[in-house]
Protein backbone atom coordinates (compact mmCIF):
# COMPACT_ATOMS: atom_id res chain seq x y z
CA UNK A 1 0.00 0.00 0.00
CA UNK A 2 1.37 3.41 -0.90
CA UNK A 3 2.38 5.64 1.99
CA UNK A 4 0.01 8.56 2.42
CA UNK A 5 1.72 11.93 2.72
CA UNK A 6 0.69 13.79 5.86
CA UNK A 7 1.22 17.31 7.12
CA UNK A 8 2.65 17.67 10.64
CA UNK A 9 0.13 19.79 12.57
CA UNK A 10 1.79 19.65 15.99
CA UNK A 11 1.56 23.09 17.57
CA UNK A 12 4.93 23.07 19.40
CA UNK A 13 5.58 26.12 21.56
CA UNK A 14 2.66 27.85 19.83
CA UNK A 15 0.54 25.33 21.73
CA UNK A 16 1.57 27.06 24.95
CA UNK A 17 1.48 30.61 23.73
CA UNK A 18 -0.86 30.71 20.71
CA UNK A 19 -4.28 32.26 20.68
CA UNK A 20 -7.35 30.34 21.69
CA UNK A 21 -10.51 30.53 23.75
CA UNK A 22 -8.87 29.41 26.98
CA UNK A 23 -9.74 29.29 30.64
CA UNK A 24 -7.81 30.76 33.57
CA UNK A 25 -6.07 27.44 34.41
CA UNK A 26 -4.45 27.46 30.96
CA UNK A 27 -2.95 30.90 31.61
CA UNK A 28 -1.84 29.73 35.08
CA UNK A 29 -0.16 26.75 33.34
CA UNK A 30 1.69 29.00 30.87
CA UNK A 31 2.79 31.43 33.58
CA UNK A 32 3.95 28.52 35.74
CA UNK A 33 6.15 27.23 32.93
CA UNK A 34 7.52 30.68 32.04
CA UNK A 35 8.31 31.52 35.66
CA UNK A 36 9.93 28.11 36.08
CA UNK A 37 12.15 28.74 33.08
CA UNK A 38 12.88 32.26 34.35
CA UNK A 39 13.97 30.95 37.76
CA UNK A 40 16.15 28.33 36.05
CA UNK A 41 17.76 31.06 33.91
CA UNK A 42 18.37 33.14 37.05
CA UNK A 43 19.96 30.13 38.75
CA UNK A 44 22.35 29.58 35.82
CA UNK A 45 23.28 33.30 35.79
CA UNK A 46 23.77 33.16 39.54
CA UNK A 47 26.22 30.26 39.18
CA UNK A 48 28.16 32.10 36.46
CA UNK A 49 28.28 35.41 38.35
CA UNK A 50 29.41 33.90 41.65
CA UNK A 51 31.99 31.72 39.89
CA UNK A 52 33.55 34.89 38.43
CA UNK A 53 34.77 35.58 41.95
CA UNK A 54 37.45 32.94 41.33
CA UNK A 55 38.84 35.29 38.65
CA UNK A 56 38.69 38.27 40.96
CA UNK A 57 35.58 39.80 39.34
CA UNK A 58 33.02 41.09 41.85
CA UNK A 59 29.92 42.28 39.99
CA UNK A 60 27.73 42.78 43.06
CA UNK A 61 29.89 45.23 45.04
CA UNK A 62 28.63 48.77 45.77
CA UNK A 63 28.53 50.71 42.48
CA UNK A 64 28.96 47.50 40.45
CA UNK A 65 26.89 46.32 37.49
CA UNK A 66 24.23 44.68 39.65
CA UNK A 67 23.37 47.92 41.39
CA UNK A 68 22.04 49.39 38.12
CA UNK A 69 18.23 50.00 38.22
CA UNK A 70 17.68 47.47 35.43
CA UNK A 71 19.18 44.68 37.52
CA UNK A 72 17.25 45.80 40.60
CA UNK A 73 14.06 45.48 38.55
CA UNK A 74 15.32 42.10 37.33
CA UNK A 75 15.72 41.01 40.94
CA UNK A 76 12.14 42.01 41.61
CA UNK A 77 11.03 39.95 38.59
CA UNK A 78 12.88 36.94 40.02
CA UNK A 79 11.11 37.48 43.34
CA UNK A 80 7.74 37.81 41.54
CA UNK A 81 8.39 34.64 39.54
CA UNK A 82 9.37 32.79 42.70
CA UNK A 83 6.26 33.97 44.61
CA UNK A 84 3.91 32.95 41.79
CA UNK A 85 5.68 29.66 41.05
CA UNK A 86 5.76 28.62 44.72
CA UNK A 87 2.11 29.43 45.46
CA UNK A 88 0.79 28.00 42.21
CA UNK A 89 2.99 24.98 42.89
CA UNK A 90 1.23 24.44 46.23
CA UNK A 91 -2.10 24.49 44.38
CA UNK A 92 -0.78 22.00 41.82
CA UNK A 93 0.49 19.64 44.53
CA UNK A 94 -2.94 19.63 46.18
CA UNK A 95 -4.71 19.17 42.83
CA UNK A 96 -2.34 16.46 41.63
CA UNK A 97 -2.89 14.47 44.80
CA UNK A 98 -6.58 14.54 43.93
CA UNK A 99 -7.38 16.63 47.02
CA UNK A 100 -9.03 19.60 45.32
CA UNK A 101 -10.80 18.18 42.27
CA UNK A 102 -13.92 16.67 43.83
CA UNK A 103 -15.38 13.23 43.27
CA UNK A 104 -16.43 11.63 39.97
CA UNK A 105 -19.93 12.76 38.99
CA UNK A 106 -22.56 11.73 36.47
CA UNK A 107 -21.93 13.94 33.41
CA UNK A 108 -25.26 15.72 32.98
CA UNK A 109 -25.47 18.70 30.60
CA UNK A 110 -24.45 21.47 31.23
CA UNK A 111 -21.31 19.63 32.27
CA UNK A 112 -19.44 20.57 35.43
CA UNK A 113 -15.72 19.89 35.64
CA UNK A 114 -13.09 19.68 38.35
CA UNK A 115 -11.85 23.08 37.17
CA UNK A 116 -14.73 24.74 39.00
CA UNK A 117 -14.06 22.70 42.14
CA UNK A 118 -10.43 23.82 42.46
CA UNK A 119 -11.10 27.42 41.29
CA UNK A 120 -11.44 28.85 44.86
CA UNK A 121 -8.00 27.41 45.66
CA UNK A 122 -6.56 29.04 42.54
CA UNK A 123 -8.11 32.39 43.46
CA UNK A 124 -6.84 32.14 47.05
CA UNK A 125 -3.30 31.40 45.84
CA UNK A 126 -3.38 34.31 43.37
CA UNK A 127 -4.54 36.67 46.13
CA UNK A 128 -1.66 35.44 48.31
CA UNK A 129 0.75 35.93 45.38
CA UNK A 130 -0.57 39.49 44.87
CA UNK A 131 -0.05 40.29 48.57
CA UNK A 132 3.50 38.92 48.40
CA UNK A 133 4.20 40.94 45.24
CA UNK A 134 2.89 44.12 46.84
CA UNK A 135 4.96 43.57 49.99
CA UNK A 136 8.03 42.64 47.94
CA UNK A 137 7.55 45.62 45.63
CA UNK A 138 7.34 47.99 48.62
CA UNK A 139 10.51 46.45 50.02
CA UNK A 140 12.40 46.79 46.73
CA UNK A 141 11.28 50.41 46.34
CA UNK A 142 12.28 51.33 49.89
CA UNK A 143 15.72 49.73 49.39
CA UNK A 144 16.18 51.57 46.09
CA UNK A 145 15.80 55.00 47.80
Amino acid sequence: MAEIKRHDNRLGLWGWLGGGRWGIERYAYILHRLTGLGILLYFLMHVVVTSLRARGIYLWVEGGVFHQPMFKFGEFLVFAAFAYHALNGVRLVLVELGLAVGKPIEPVYPYKTSLGVQRPLLIAMMILAAILLAAGGYNFLSLAK
Partner: protein, 271 residues
Amino acid sequence: MPAEINFHVTRYNPECDQAPYVKTYRVPVREGMTVLDGLHYIKDNLDSSLAWRYSCRMGVCGSCGMLLNGRATLACNTQILHIATTDLTVGPLPNFDIIRDLVPDLLTMFEKHVAVKPYIVRADEAELDDPAGEFYQSPEELGAYLQFTYCIKCGCCMAACPTLATDARYSGPMPLAAAQRYNADTRDDGRRARNQLTGSSHGAFRCHYAGECSRVCPKGVDPAKAIQYLKRQLVLDYLHLARRKKPCAKMHGPGQGKPLANITPAPAKTV
Protein backbone atom coordinates in the same frame (compact mmCIF):
# COMPACT_ATOMS: atom_id res chain seq x y z
CA MET B 1 -29.13 37.80 12.38
CA PRO B 2 -26.52 37.69 9.57
CA ALA B 3 -27.67 36.00 6.39
CA GLU B 4 -24.23 34.68 5.57
CA ILE B 5 -21.14 33.62 7.52
CA ASN B 6 -17.62 33.47 6.10
CA PHE B 7 -16.25 29.96 6.64
CA HIS B 8 -12.43 30.14 6.65
CA VAL B 9 -11.65 26.48 6.08
CA THR B 10 -8.19 24.90 6.20
CA ARG B 11 -7.52 23.00 2.98
CA TYR B 12 -4.77 20.50 2.29
CA ASN B 13 -4.47 17.97 -0.49
CA PRO B 14 -1.38 15.77 0.03
CA GLU B 15 -1.20 15.07 -3.72
CA CYS B 16 -0.73 18.69 -4.78
CA ASP B 17 -0.23 20.98 -1.77
CA GLN B 18 3.07 21.59 0.00
CA ALA B 19 1.33 23.05 3.06
CA PRO B 20 -2.20 23.72 4.28
CA TYR B 21 -3.87 26.99 3.27
CA VAL B 22 -7.12 28.70 4.15
CA LYS B 23 -10.00 29.04 1.70
CA THR B 24 -13.05 31.18 2.42
CA TYR B 25 -16.63 30.22 1.59
CA ARG B 26 -19.77 32.25 2.16
CA VAL B 27 -22.43 30.08 3.74
CA PRO B 28 -26.06 31.14 4.29
CA VAL B 29 -27.06 30.25 7.82
CA ARG B 30 -30.29 29.85 9.70
CA GLU B 31 -30.95 29.41 13.39
CA GLY B 32 -30.11 25.93 14.65
CA MET B 33 -27.71 25.20 11.79
CA THR B 34 -24.60 23.33 12.93
CA VAL B 35 -21.07 23.69 11.62
CA LEU B 36 -21.47 20.22 10.14
CA ASP B 37 -24.53 21.48 8.22
CA GLY B 38 -22.40 24.37 6.97
CA LEU B 39 -19.69 22.01 5.73
CA HIS B 40 -22.35 19.95 3.96
CA TYR B 41 -23.62 23.15 2.31
CA ILE B 42 -20.10 23.89 1.05
CA LYS B 43 -19.64 20.35 -0.27
CA ASP B 44 -23.05 20.28 -1.96
CA ASN B 45 -23.00 23.79 -3.44
CA LEU B 46 -19.57 25.40 -3.45
CA ASP B 47 -16.70 22.91 -3.43
CA SER B 48 -17.21 19.17 -3.72
CA SER B 49 -13.53 18.45 -3.02
CA LEU B 50 -13.74 19.41 0.68
CA ALA B 51 -13.01 16.44 2.94
CA TRP B 52 -13.85 15.85 6.58
CA ARG B 53 -14.82 12.93 8.77
CA TYR B 54 -18.29 12.49 10.25
CA SER B 55 -20.83 9.78 10.92
CA CYS B 56 -23.64 10.05 13.47
CA ARG B 57 -24.47 13.81 13.32
CA MET B 58 -25.57 13.71 16.98
CA GLY B 59 -22.46 13.95 19.18
CA VAL B 60 -22.17 10.22 19.76
CA CYS B 61 -19.57 8.82 17.37
CA GLY B 62 -16.81 11.42 17.95
CA SER B 63 -15.79 11.54 14.28
CA CYS B 64 -16.22 15.24 13.51
CA GLY B 65 -13.80 16.77 16.03
CA MET B 66 -12.44 20.03 14.57
CA LEU B 67 -10.88 23.31 15.59
CA LEU B 68 -13.70 25.86 15.45
CA ASN B 69 -12.66 29.45 16.13
CA GLY B 70 -9.60 28.16 17.97
CA ARG B 71 -11.45 25.63 20.13
CA ALA B 72 -11.44 21.89 19.61
CA THR B 73 -15.01 20.62 19.54
CA LEU B 74 -17.49 18.51 17.57
CA ALA B 75 -18.85 20.12 14.40
CA CYS B 76 -22.17 18.30 14.77
CA ASN B 77 -23.16 19.69 18.14
CA THR B 78 -21.86 23.22 17.66
CA GLN B 79 -24.34 25.70 16.25
CA ILE B 80 -22.79 28.27 13.92
CA LEU B 81 -24.60 31.25 15.42
CA HIS B 82 -23.50 30.27 18.92
CA ILE B 83 -19.83 30.86 18.09
CA ALA B 84 -19.79 33.20 15.06
CA THR B 85 -21.39 36.45 13.99
CA THR B 86 -19.60 37.11 10.70
CA ASP B 87 -16.56 34.81 10.45
CA LEU B 88 -15.84 31.23 11.46
CA THR B 89 -12.47 29.49 11.19
CA VAL B 90 -12.65 25.74 10.67
CA GLY B 91 -9.44 23.74 10.94
CA PRO B 92 -8.33 20.17 11.58
CA LEU B 93 -7.58 19.08 15.16
CA PRO B 94 -4.06 20.20 16.03
CA ASN B 95 -1.41 17.86 17.50
CA PHE B 96 -2.41 15.26 14.87
CA ASP B 97 -1.01 14.96 11.36
CA ILE B 98 -3.38 16.14 8.64
CA ILE B 99 -4.38 13.47 6.13
CA ARG B 100 -6.47 15.82 4.03
CA ASP B 101 -8.37 19.10 4.65
CA LEU B 102 -10.15 18.62 8.00
CA VAL B 103 -9.25 14.94 8.42
CA PRO B 104 -6.70 14.32 11.20
CA ASP B 105 -4.72 11.11 11.56
CA LEU B 106 -5.93 9.78 14.93
CA LEU B 107 -3.77 6.66 14.79
CA THR B 108 -1.23 8.00 17.30
CA MET B 109 -4.03 8.52 19.83
CA PHE B 110 -5.40 5.01 19.34
CA GLU B 111 -1.91 3.50 19.69
CA LYS B 112 -1.47 5.29 23.01
CA HIS B 113 -4.95 4.17 24.02
CA VAL B 114 -4.17 0.50 23.34
CA ALA B 115 -0.87 0.83 25.26
CA VAL B 116 -2.67 1.56 28.57
CA LYS B 117 -4.58 -1.76 28.36
CA PRO B 118 -8.08 -0.23 28.19
CA TYR B 119 -9.87 -3.40 29.20
CA ILE B 120 -10.46 -5.51 32.32
CA VAL B 121 -7.25 -7.31 33.29
CA ARG B 122 -7.64 -10.27 35.66
CA ALA B 123 -5.71 -13.37 36.57
CA ASP B 124 -8.71 -15.58 35.69
CA GLU B 125 -8.53 -14.90 31.95
CA ALA B 126 -10.66 -17.96 31.18
CA GLU B 127 -13.56 -16.30 32.99
CA LEU B 128 -13.19 -13.19 30.84
CA ASP B 129 -13.02 -15.12 27.59
CA ASP B 130 -15.84 -17.49 28.46
CA PRO B 131 -17.88 -15.94 31.28
CA ALA B 132 -19.71 -18.35 33.54
CA GLY B 133 -20.97 -15.86 36.12
CA GLU B 134 -21.45 -12.25 37.18
CA PHE B 135 -19.08 -10.00 39.07
CA TYR B 136 -20.51 -8.11 42.01
CA GLN B 137 -20.13 -4.33 41.88
CA SER B 138 -22.10 -1.88 44.02
CA PRO B 139 -23.58 1.35 42.58
CA GLU B 140 -21.00 3.32 44.63
CA GLU B 141 -18.17 1.34 43.07
CA LEU B 142 -19.66 1.97 39.63
CA GLY B 143 -19.80 5.69 40.42
CA ALA B 144 -16.02 5.76 40.93
CA TYR B 145 -15.40 5.32 37.21
CA LEU B 146 -18.73 5.82 35.39
CA GLN B 147 -17.93 9.43 34.40
CA PHE B 148 -14.81 8.31 32.56
CA THR B 149 -16.67 5.67 30.53
CA TYR B 150 -18.51 8.30 28.47
CA CYS B 151 -15.40 9.08 26.36
CA ILE B 152 -16.13 8.88 22.62
CA LYS B 153 -12.47 9.11 21.52
CA CYS B 154 -13.05 12.24 19.44
CA GLY B 155 -9.52 13.55 20.13
CA CYS B 156 -10.64 17.06 21.17
CA CYS B 157 -8.81 16.75 24.51
CA MET B 158 -5.61 15.67 22.74
CA ALA B 159 -5.85 18.66 20.40
CA ALA B 160 -6.39 21.12 23.25
CA CYS B 161 -3.58 19.80 25.49
CA PRO B 162 -0.61 22.22 25.59
CA THR B 163 1.72 19.52 26.95
CA LEU B 164 0.99 17.28 23.99
CA ALA B 165 1.84 20.21 21.71
CA THR B 166 5.49 20.02 22.76
CA ASP B 167 5.83 16.37 23.82
CA ALA B 168 4.69 13.97 21.13
CA ARG B 169 5.43 10.97 23.38
CA TYR B 170 3.14 12.16 26.19
CA SER B 171 0.26 9.69 26.52
CA GLY B 172 -2.30 12.48 26.55
CA PRO B 173 -5.63 13.03 28.29
CA MET B 174 -7.76 10.42 26.53
CA PRO B 175 -5.52 7.35 27.11
CA LEU B 176 -4.74 8.40 30.69
CA ALA B 177 -8.42 8.92 31.49
CA ALA B 178 -9.09 5.47 30.01
CA ALA B 179 -6.37 4.03 32.27
CA GLN B 180 -8.03 5.59 35.32
CA ARG B 181 -11.42 4.30 34.15
CA TYR B 182 -10.12 0.72 34.37
CA ASN B 183 -7.91 1.28 37.42
CA ALA B 184 -10.98 2.43 39.37
CA ASP B 185 -13.07 -0.54 38.24
CA THR B 186 -13.36 -3.08 41.08
CA ARG B 187 -13.47 -5.94 38.56
CA ASP B 188 -10.01 -5.02 37.29
CA ASP B 189 -6.62 -6.12 38.58
CA GLY B 190 -4.37 -4.46 36.01
CA ARG B 191 -3.43 -1.21 37.75
CA ARG B 192 0.15 -2.20 38.52
CA ALA B 193 0.67 -3.31 34.92
CA ARG B 194 -0.67 0.05 33.69
CA ASN B 195 1.54 1.92 36.17
CA GLN B 196 4.54 0.96 34.01
CA LEU B 197 3.23 3.34 31.35
CA THR B 198 1.15 5.86 33.26
CA GLY B 199 3.97 6.40 35.77
CA SER B 200 6.67 6.77 33.10
CA SER B 201 8.34 10.05 32.19
CA HIS B 202 5.77 10.59 29.43
CA GLY B 203 2.84 9.48 31.56
CA ALA B 204 0.48 11.17 33.99
CA PHE B 205 3.05 13.41 35.65
CA ARG B 206 3.57 15.31 32.40
CA CYS B 207 0.11 16.78 32.99
CA HIS B 208 0.24 20.12 34.82
CA TYR B 209 -3.48 20.74 34.95
CA ALA B 210 -3.98 23.35 32.24
CA GLY B 211 -7.53 21.98 32.26
CA GLU B 212 -8.18 22.46 28.53
CA CYS B 213 -9.01 18.78 28.04
CA SER B 214 -11.87 18.99 30.53
CA ARG B 215 -13.03 22.31 29.15
CA VAL B 216 -13.34 21.10 25.56
CA CYS B 217 -14.64 17.56 26.24
CA PRO B 218 -18.02 17.34 24.48
CA LYS B 219 -19.22 14.55 26.79
CA GLY B 220 -18.30 15.93 30.24
CA VAL B 221 -15.75 13.19 30.87
CA ASP B 222 -13.33 15.53 32.69
CA PRO B 223 -10.04 13.84 31.72
CA ALA B 224 -8.04 16.29 33.89
CA LYS B 225 -9.83 14.96 36.97
CA ALA B 226 -9.12 11.36 35.97
CA ILE B 227 -5.42 12.14 35.51
CA GLN B 228 -5.18 13.69 38.99
CA TYR B 229 -6.71 10.53 40.49
CA LEU B 230 -4.21 8.53 38.49
CA LYS B 231 -1.33 10.56 39.91
CA ARG B 232 -2.56 10.12 43.48
CA GLN B 233 -2.72 6.37 43.00
CA LEU B 234 0.74 6.33 41.42
CA VAL B 235 2.15 8.18 44.44
CA LEU B 236 0.43 5.78 46.85
CA ASP B 237 1.69 2.78 44.88
CA TYR B 238 5.22 4.19 44.77
CA LEU B 239 5.22 4.73 48.53
CA HIS B 240 3.63 1.30 49.12
CA LEU B 241 0.75 3.00 50.89
CA ALA B 242 -2.02 1.69 48.63
CA ARG B 243 -4.22 -1.02 50.07
CA ARG B 244 -3.82 -4.29 48.21
CA LYS B 245 -7.34 -5.22 47.16
CA LYS B 246 -8.37 -8.28 45.25
CA PRO B 247 -10.66 -7.71 42.28
CA CYS B 248 -14.31 -8.38 43.05
CA ALA B 249 -15.35 -12.01 43.01
CA LYS B 250 -17.71 -13.86 40.70
CA MET B 251 -21.14 -14.25 42.31
CA HIS B 252 -22.92 -17.04 40.49
CA GLY B 253 -23.50 -18.52 37.07
CA PRO B 254 -26.12 -17.27 34.61
CA GLY B 255 -29.63 -18.07 35.83
CA GLN B 256 -28.35 -19.27 39.21
CA GLY B 257 -28.92 -16.00 41.05
CA LYS B 258 -31.63 -15.65 43.68
CA PRO B 259 -34.18 -13.01 42.55
CA LEU B 260 -35.18 -10.42 45.13
CA ALA B 261 -38.65 -10.94 46.64
CA ASN B 262 -40.07 -7.56 45.56
CA ILE B 263 -39.17 -7.89 41.87
CA THR B 264 -41.92 -9.02 39.54
CA PRO B 265 -40.92 -12.18 37.66
CA ALA B 266 -40.30 -11.85 33.95
CA PRO B 267 -43.23 -12.86 31.69
CA ALA B 268 -43.15 -16.34 30.25
CA LYS B 269 -41.37 -16.79 26.93
CA THR B 270 -43.70 -16.67 23.94
CA VAL B 271 -41.23 -18.02 21.40
